[in-house]
Amino acid sequence: MRRIGTLLAIVIASSALASQCPSGDALLMNNTPLRTLCPNGFGQFAPGSIAQAMQAQPQNVSMITAAADQYGVPLHLALAVSFHESEGFNSCAGSNTGVKGPMQLTVETGQDFGFNRNINEQNIKGGMALLSQAVRSCGATNFACLAARYNGSNAAQQAGWARGVAAADQQLTNDPSLLASACQGGCSPSNQGDFPNGPNDSTPNATLSA
């Protein structure tokens, strides 16, 4: 009986770190420097549609899916924020001298949650931790409040963030097939497709070798 109790405790403890997206959970355990993923540096990207961006960045989308589940953030909101922040879930979005990565996290905010924003997986987890905190204060649909908590820039920037995230959130909410396709970035060394500004296609994805 005691052994069953111990086993149950282990299962419960393990499930706290597990999500409905096991491949995303596995990918999140890597520690890949953004500079490894983006040897050509950081810049701006045309995001295209949400569906196109999800197809182009399957591993980041899987990790965002897993992290959203782990941190209790609605998936449609997590994807909407990353899509808007990083021009389509893009690790290489940002500037060489400033914020970068899929969740566009600052160094200080990352450190507040115990994460290094210059590591791709930690950038996602730190962004999700901040978003989770914002959702607890604002709810998941008060985009002006979420903008103040996540973005916090001047009024015009916050208004732009709220508009963009709300629009992406609505698209994701209205198209269940998009959400259903969010966990397709498998943890396989041969999985290519992410990081358009990253290593050339003949190089195995650095995320998986870290």
């Binding site: 810049g43 701006q44 990207f45 045309a46 995001p47 808007h84 922040e85 990083s86 021009e87 893009n90 979005a93 940002g94 500037s95 060489n96 001298t97 400033g98 914020v99 970068k100 566009q104 996290l105 600052t106 160094v107 200080e108 905010t109 507040d112 901040l130 914002a134 903008a147 103040a148 908590r149 996540y150 973005n151 916090g152 820039s153 001047n154 009024a155 015009a156 920037q157 916050q158 208004a159 732009g160 963030w161 709220a162 508009r163 963009g164 995230v165 629009a167």
Partner: protein, 138 residues
């Protein structure tokens, strides 16, 4: 006569000082900072468009300083280097947002040099990325 000479000298000094101040602040002098041509407000990368405002492709110009996404920067022309600027910046997000006044006292401020080319009053290029005016004012 001595009084007149003194007044003339004082006027010349004042004129020089005002011109120098205008140059430092980008006050519209033709000899001044090229950034002074740029309209203050919010900008977005042309790759993203204004729908991306508030995201990674955003920038703000307060009339003197150009700040990237989740940054507040002091922008200073580098003498003798056309279109080269020293950017002293602090990152800030959410509750950790900062103001210009924090830059000189916060040890996390970083210095970088960037090339900024003002293409028109509503369009500029920074390190090869082109940005266009979206409206608003910081």
């Amino acid at each position: 006569m001595t009084n007149l000479v003194l007044k003339l000298a004082l006027a010349a000094l004042l004129t020089t000082a005002v011109a120098a101040q205008a140059q430092v602040q980008g006050g519209g002098s033709t000899k001044g900072n090229p950034l002074s041509r740029l309209r203050p407000g919010e900008y977005a990368s042309v790759k993203v468009g204004c729908a991306g405002l508030g995201g990674g492709g955003s920038a703000s110009f307060d009339g003197r300083n150009l700040s990237g996404h989740y940054q507040v920067c002091k922008t200073t022309p580098i003498p003798g280097s056309a279109n080269r600027y020293l950017q002293r910046c602090l990152e800030g997000q959410g509750a950790n947002n900062h103001t210009l006044a924090d830059i000189d006292t916060n040890p996390n401020a970083s210095d970088d040099q960037q090339t900024i080319i003002v293409n028109s009053p509503t369009n500029f290029t920074i390190d090869g990325e082109q940005y266009a005016f979206c409206g608003g004012s910081p």
